[in-house]
Amino acid sequence: MAKIDELKEEARKVLRDGTVKYIIGYGNGTNGWPAAPIFVKKPEDVDRFIWDPTCVHNLVRFLIDEKRRKARQKQPDKRPVGIFVKGCDSRAIVVLLQEKFIERSDVYILGVSCEKAGVVDAAKLSKKLAGKMPKRVELDDQNRFVVTTESGKIEAAADELLAERCRECPANFPVIYDVLSGEKVKRTPDKPYGSLEKIESLSAEERWTFWKAQLDKCIRCYACRSACPMCYCDECVVDSINLAVTADTTADEKAQRIRWVQRSAESSENFVYHLVRAMHLAGRCIDCGECERVCPLDIPLRFLNKKLEKEAKELFGYDVGFDASLPALISCFRDEDPQDFIR
């Protein structure tokens, strides 16, 4: 992974001359996972920024909070917000720009290329360390991860600990940035949707038993929705009362609001929630894998969105997160869209 020393200088400069409100990046976490999101306002704090294979979080999510905060302030500070992005994160910004949720001028992008490798998979690493927490993770020059724990160092081939999404990553360098560190190493994964084969090869009944067993675990803590940079609706289908209630929302509007999903974490309700979320991410999910990483019950949610990403590519030739001028997947069509399933 590229180094961020020049980016730090850049960060110090923009903070000092005030062109940027604050910068979202990664610093040292204290809960056992080396990296954690931090927010730096002062130039002298720029040294707190780190960059290593444990910078797994998608920080673009915090641009949503920033927009909400500005909406609540009477005279909001219109300066852009700085943000460190990997390849996948940058594509999330492209989708937010595509949907006009943020303006290009709202964000100052410090791009870091993943070059040969990518980030570690938290679940794989935790399994390898038998639950123990890593102190540091680095990538050595033979493309191996060196993991330091309190009881010494462990080495593993990058492929063994690399996050699934990095192995299938179409472009591991930022597609949009103000400043960039590291070269753009074009990598064409041999099987871009390889991880799906495990499920697609199952029979219908086996697939059902798999997904039922997984989604029955769901406790509806909504971490997948909270971590997702694309899930920015003010009012979600699963919320018990509408969140966008204002003083002039009439009683009838509130009373007639349809409760599509019950609050109970029952299998039927979990399915409606996860299927609707997957559909709402069709053509918008940039496969940053956060939904799967944050899930406390390890439900493989990424496979739901990756499947629709594959369909969007194969059925409609639609790529996500590369071109901010493209219309959304389901608000455009081609004459040659397949219709064999219509009878």
Partner: protein
């Protein structure tokens, strides 16, 4: 005679053609199974995936979305959007393991009363062997 399973189908019928096709079938006294619960929508493009998942959640054994043939859409593009969106819904339902026959999309114009009855007959014929839909159904 054992109580034969009668599937209950929720059908989203586009007002301008499929629903008119259904009326034509009715006016021409065509026989077709009474299993569908018709819901008239302004356009097949307005059928949200949430309606489909919610229908299965509330116990529908089959869901049909029927719209106008490409080019006939009263709103020009509605059925093209529906074609793309409901194709994704179909793939997703199949992917999680719902029996593929349970979700069906069709083009039925206002003049195709016979085709409408045929679509319903085929759909009921497909659903009968599957028995009641218990996978996505809410069992309160």
């Amino acid at each position: 005679m054992a109580e034969e399973f009668e599937p209950r189908i929720v059908a989203f019928l586009c007002k301008w053609c499929s629903s008119a096709g259904a009326d034509l079938a009715g006016v021409s006294r065509m026989e077709y199974p009474p299993n569908i619960v018709p819901i008239q929508v302004m356009c097949s493009g307005s059928v949200s995936p949430l309606y489909i998942f919610s229908a299965f959640n509330k116990g529908a054994d089959g869901v049909l979305v029927s719209g106008c043939h490409p080019g006939d859409c009263h709103y020009i593009k509605g059925n093209y959007y529906a074609r793309r969106r409901l194709n994704l819904v179909n793939k997703l339902l199949e992917y999680v393991g719902l029996e593929p026959q349970r979700f069906r999309m069709s083009w039925v114009s206002a003049a195709e009363g016979t085709k409408y009855t045929q679509v319903i007959k085929d759909f009921v014929k497909d659903l009968k062997p599957l028995g009641p839909q218990t996978k996505l159904r809410r069992n309160a």
